[in-house]
């Protein structure tokens, strides 16, 4: 039997009744023609030759704009969707400038080591084609000691990651004199990754970097590339402290895309539980693969990748051979990746099942269809994943299969939110006091601070005085000097804001215990207690023992069908109210809070059905966190609800808000906490707190405060459009005692909404 083409397949799908009934929205995006510009006239002949050898006779408009802007001395941020040739946006101007003057240097920053390797290979290919002897090196933990000296002295392009810059390059800047004296360009790829705590840290690392550059007399131009987010220019400017020229008109062509929102059928009407997204994806992917339509499947965890992968491989074993469907996880070597890429091009590989790792800029070429197992969490990553499908000619099919989670249900039931609204805002707070102090120590270690010196734009004299009182710095002759025997960068991890972290040790292999990560204490209480299931890069680990005194969590890799959810008894008190919007009925505030939390017990909750399948106690001491928070309070005597109903409504509202907030702020769900209090300590009123889960705050709750009304409106819509009758895990959470939970929640949210709305109007 002849295989169907994708086009035939799509029209078959459109007519299929069973399929049709689950499709919430079928959205077609018309194809875009490429917009070209000729190769710039100033382009060095060797680069021209290299491009021509690669079959590139002209540039996409955004590449040309990037080249011209950088050559005229502007820092730029280019918004580059998947597969739009972003690497040329920085490689062309950088290589051109080094060809013009071989003493020029460039520093490339990628968020991960794997990405650095990948980009180095790509850059070297370009340099080879140009018959160039420009040297580029990666400098990371894997760089052999024997060539480090050479990289430091002679590397014209040094490729590294922010962590290395922070702990190995800047504290030893005197060994990098020739780099810093001649540093012309700093490339920051995957800009959107630098948000939240990580971004706040990196913004400070870049301030340190610029300080060192200034000391050696250089003032580099920044070249950033980012996935689509709401505020690329703002993020780039706050990260680098430079005015940015934004390049967001993309000249790359794209195919006609069918974006299909698919909601699996309800299998339990009462609980509003839908069939597992994983099972649906398995079925849909096998239909495509049987027609030999090249398909990429995204799943959120390594375990799910394995489940889907083994099923699909089994299915097509006889027809296509097991090697025709490949798994792809973070940490693959470039050679393995090249093999898959080559297979896709040759037609030996039909399917790739991947965790979100692939979304991170690694290019494996493009496929015809893309299936997402659930909403990937942010609009930006959804578009990145969708970008994997769609060759220049022809059509592309993108299926988003929703799970039962409230966020997924919100997105699938409001496809217009996804398609029309702008993507999330990436927030950083470089002035988080904990993070800032840490980097001031590092900066003082690197060079003494002069009186009156700013750190970026920040006035820091008070902080330096504090550090002098703490006997870390010594003030003399109008300068603050580092005066301590520690190596400060060593104690500071860019991936967390807490000062004392819990180290996570994997003991799956008897002879090879290794540290796989660390976590701040506050998070560790609920995520790393004994028996907790901890997810790391999609893999599940069970905590075997949490040594709280030594701050070590011993984990072992497991495969289970549940996750753990810890109850945190939280006491919140408001320390200072910075902003307030209010009406007669309600108030929305923002300020600093103290959170005292104690983990009490945890539940084991089954994936998909969210059944509670067991529980246990947690015995850990109370922890205190000072952070920023947004809160909504109802005023006295409003709503005529009994306490019981108020409580129920607040709990429901917090559940819905927790699902909705990531829609507005680009963050991981655990970065932000929502806590209802029937009688808040500071005002004795029913209050809903939304706080940043990092000491000092990282700007998430501030954003919630700014958009209070929209956030509440969306939470209300989530609840109202849910098909359940009295609350379900997909909207306000289950397990609420009395009836009317849904109504109570709506009432409370409406009061917040109208109260805030009348203020706005």
């Amino acid at each position: 039997m002849r295989k169907k083409t994708l086009k035939e397949f799509i029209s078959h799908f459109r007519d299929d009744d069973q399929f049709k009934s689950q499709v919430v929205k079928w959205h077609t995006i018309e194809p875009m023609e490429a917009v070209y510009e000729p190769l710039p006239e100033v382009l060095a002949p060797s680069l021209r030759k290299a491009l021509e050898r690669r079959g590139i006779g002209k540039l996409y408009s955004h590449q040309a704009e990037a080249f011209n802007s950088v050559m005229s001395g502007k820092s730029i941020t280019a918004v580059t969707p998947t597969a739009s040739g972003k690497t040329l946006c920085y490689n062309l101007p950088v290589v051109q400038s080094i060809v013009e003057n071989p003493s020029n240097r460039a520093l490339y920053l990628f968020p991960t080591k794997a990405l650095s390797q990948d980009q180095k290979t790509e850059l070297n290919e370009l340099l080879d084609l140009a018959d160039s002897n420009i040297t580029s090196y990666t400098y990371d933990g894997d760089t052999p000691a024997s060539i480090r000296q050479k990289v430091r002295k002679a590397g014209q392009i040094v490729i590294t990651n922010p962590d290395m810059l922070h702990s190995a390059i800047l504290p030893h800047h005197t060994k990098w004199v020739s780099l810093f004296e001649n540093l012309k360009y700093i490339v920051i790829d995957e800009l959107h990754i630098y948000r939240g705590v990580f971004g706040s840290h990196v913004a400070n690392v870049i301030k340190r970097l610029k300080r060192i550059c200034k000391f050696y007399g250089s003032d580099p131009i920044f070249i950033c590339t980012s996935a689509t987010i709401a505020n690329p220019k703002e993020l780039a400017e706050s990260l680098t402290g430079k005015n940015m020229h934004l390049i967001d008109r993309n000249g790359a062509p794209s195919a006609r895309k069918h974006f299909v929102f698919y909601n699996p059928p309800v299998v339990n009407q009462q609980l509003n539980i839908r069939r597992s997204a994983t099972l649906e994806v398995r079925r849909l992917a096998s239909l495509l693969l049987k027609e030999k339509i090249q398909t990429i499947v995204f799943a959120k965890s390594r375990v799910r990748v394995e489940i889907i992968l083994s099923y699909l491989q089994e299915l097509v074993k006889n027809e296509l051979g097991p090697k025709s469907i490949r798994g792809y996880r973070g940490g693959y070597l470039p050679t393995q990746r090249r093999e898959i890429e080559q297979g896709l091009r040759d037609g030996d590989v039909y399917g790739v099942v991947s965790t979100n790792a692939l979304e991170l800029g690694v290019d494996i070429g493009q496929l015809q269809a893309c299936i997402m197992t659930g909403y990937p969490g942010t609009i930006a990553s959804a578009w990145q994943q969708a970008g994997r499908a769609g060759r220049r000619q022809g059509e592309a099919l993108i299926l988003m299969v929703a799970s039962s989670s409230p966020l997924d249900q919100y997105v699938v039931l409001h496809p217009e939110y996804f398609l029309k609204s702008s993507p999330e805002t990436a927030r950083i707070n470089a002035e988080n006091i904990v993070i800032l102090l840490d980097h001031l120590k590092c900066a003082a270690f690197e060079l003494p601070f002069e009186k009156g010196e700013l750190f970026g734009e920040t006035e820091i004299e008070d902080l330096l005085e504090y550090l002098a009182e703490e006997r870390v710095l010594h003030f003399t002759k109008d300068k603050w000097y580092w005066m301590n025997d520690a190596f400060p960068a060593h104690d500071i991890s860019l991936r967390s804001a807490s000062q004392e972290n819990v180290v996570i040790i994997d003991q799956s292999e008897r002879a090879n215990h290794r540290v796989i990560g660390e976590m701040d204490r506050f998070s560790a209480m609920t995520l790393l207690h004994d028996e907790a299931i901890y997810l790391h890069q999609g893999a599940q680990y069970q905590v075997e023992y949490l040594d709280w005194d030594e701050k070590k969590a011993y984990v072992r890799e497991v495969e289970v069908d549940y996750f753990t959810d810890a109850n945190l008894a939280v006491q919140l008190s408001v320390l200072e109210e910075d902003k307030r919007k209010e009406t007669e009925e309600a108030a929305a505030c923002y300020g600093d809070v103290s959170v005292r939390a104690m983990a009490t017990l945890f539940k084991k909750i089954k994936f998909d059905t969210h059944e509670n399948i067991g529980s246990g106690p947690i015995s850990l001491p109370e922890e205190e966190l000072h952070t920023s928070a947004a809160w909504f309070s109802l005023k006295e005597g409003i709503g005529h609800m009994t306490d019981e109903h108020v409580e129920q409504g607040l709990i429901g509202a917090s559940h819905a808000l927790k699902a909705i907030i990531p829609v507005h702020v680009m963050c991981d769900p655990q970065d932000i906490q929502v806590t209802p209090q029937v009688k808040a300590v500071h005002n004795q009123l029913p209050t809903l707190f939304i706080y940043d889960r990092y000491p000092g705050g990282i700007g998430l709750s501030e954003k919630v405060h700014e958009n209070g009304q929209t956030v509440i409106r969306d939470a209300l819509e989530l609840i109202q459009s849910c098909v359940c009758t009295n609350g379900c895990p997909s909207c306000i959470g289950s397990g609420l005692p009395a009836g009317d939970a849904k109504k109570d929640t709506e009432k409370i949210l409406e009061m917040f909404y109208y109260a805030l709305g009348s203020e706005v109007n």
Partner: protein, 406 residues
């Protein structure tokens, strides 16, 4: 909210560092100058700034452990006469050329780790002059380095791990003030740490200078300040300005430098074979070292001595390699036969393989060659050393083929 207010709120939750220094006012006068002067320390002025320099002289009959400083002149003469070339050789140098050099720092690595004592000693006629350049406080590095660079010949530094620690640290701090001080030239120098490791790492649990002093130089420290306390004492000093702690640090640094002198004497005596008792292990290490430096003849002489002294098997093994290089296969065979049954496992395997090669290619005795190759194969762990195992199997196969053809 201002950062200051935030800071006040967060203070109880921020980790506090207790060690270290506090603020100070600008230095209006130099406190305790009389006390400094009592300890042979004076000011060095550069423009409007200063550092401290302590200068002490030692007579040549000064005894430090089992050596007198005057022993230095014997070994210097020895090196001038010696025919051997060696990386520790001071042939061609005048006794006054060498600078014995050691620093005290506030940390172990990174730009922010400051050198606060630069100490050096050299021979000058009938005495040894020891000088210590002391940083009175951060921000006074310009006079410190200017005074230091003026007085030191960097081409002939003698250090203990100075190649990878003290000198890179000097370079790093120098970079920070490079616009104000003379350029730092390339240096070549004698690093006695590497020499000590080479000779004694097999026989000593640690080759820290303190242990070398005790076990090789006959020098025992009394009331000595542990080196790791030096940073804390310095932080206290810049806060209180009282020199008492620093004087102990300077005393510690002085002893380090004197030990550098006697260690250089001791190592030179070993290398020059000057009326000194050497164990077979030392002769063996010295022999390997000389061979490594290209002095094969001296090397093989020392190895032979070690082997003769008590049948030192590793010496025999190394000697056999030297014989092989000189195409003296009979001697090599004799030694390797010993090693192949008495050496460490690694040596036994290597000896058997070498014998197999000699029998096959030199003596054309394929049967013996097969025996030796098989012996090696039995000795190795073929699961772990797969490459070696397959090489050996290949060799045996080839030999058996050759044998069959005859």
């Amino acid at each position: 909210m201002s950062l200051k207010k935030k800071l006040d709120r967060m203070k109880p939750h921020l980790k506090s560092n207790s060690s270290g220094a506090a603020r100070s006012e600008s230095m209006a006068e130099i406190p305790h100058l009389d006390l400094w002067k009592q300890h042979h320390t004076d000011l060095f002025w550069h423009e409007n700034d200063f550092c401290l320099i302590r200068e002490v002289h030692f007579p040549l009959n000064y005894q430090h452990g089992r050596y007198r400083l005057s022993d230095y002149h014997k070994i210097m003469e020895g090196w001038q006469k010696a025919n051997a070339s060696h990386s520790l050789s001071s042939a061609g140098y005048h006794p006054e050329d060498l600078f014995f050099f050691d620093t005290e720092t506030t940390g172990l690595r990174g730009t922010g780790s400051t050198i606060f004592v630069l100490g050096h000693a050299r021979f000058a006629g009938d005495k040894v002059i020891l000088k210590q350049h002391i940083l009175p406080g951060p921000g006074q590095e310009i006079p410190l380095y200017i005074s230091f660079l003026k007085q030191v010949n960097y081409k002939t530094l003698v250090t203990y791990n100075g190649k990878s620690f003290d000198w890179p640290q000097v370079k790093s701090r120098h970079t920070l003030i490079r616009e104000h001080v003379p350029k730092l030239p390339q240096t070549g120098h004698f690093d006695l740490y590497h020499a000590s490791r080479r000779l004694w790492k097999g026989s000593m649990a640690s080759v820290k200078l303190k242990h070398v002093e005790e076990q090789k130089l006959g020098f025992e420290r009394k009331d000595d300040l542990p080196g790791y306390l030096a940073p804390a004492i310095y932080f206290d000093f810049i806060e209180r300005k009282h020199p008492e702690g620093m004087i102990k640090v300077l005393d510690h640094n002085e002893k380090d430098i004197l030990s550098l002198i006697t260690l250089y004497i001791h190592l030179s005596e070993l290398l020059l074979d000057q009326e000194i008792d050497q164990t077979s292990a030392e002769k063996y290490e010295l022999g390997k070292w000389y061979s490594h430096e290209g002095e094969r003849e001296i090397g093989s002489g020392l190895l032979e001595d070690a082997y003769k002294m008590d049948g030192h098997i590793s010496a025999a093994h190394n000697l056999a390699y030297l014989h092989k290089k000189n195409k003296q296969y009979d001697q090599a065979e004799k030694l390797w036969l010993k090693v192949s049954s008495n050496g460490s496992k690694k040596e036994m395997v290597e000896a058997a393989v070498e014998l197999a090669k000699i029998y096959e290619h030199q003596f054309k005795n394929h049967a013996y060659a097969i025996t030796m190759a098989k012996k090696a194969l039995v000795l190795i762990d073929s699961e772990l050393e797969t490459k070696k195992a397959s090489d050996l199997k290949h060799r045996i196969k080839r030999l058996e083929k050759k044998q069959g053809n005859l």
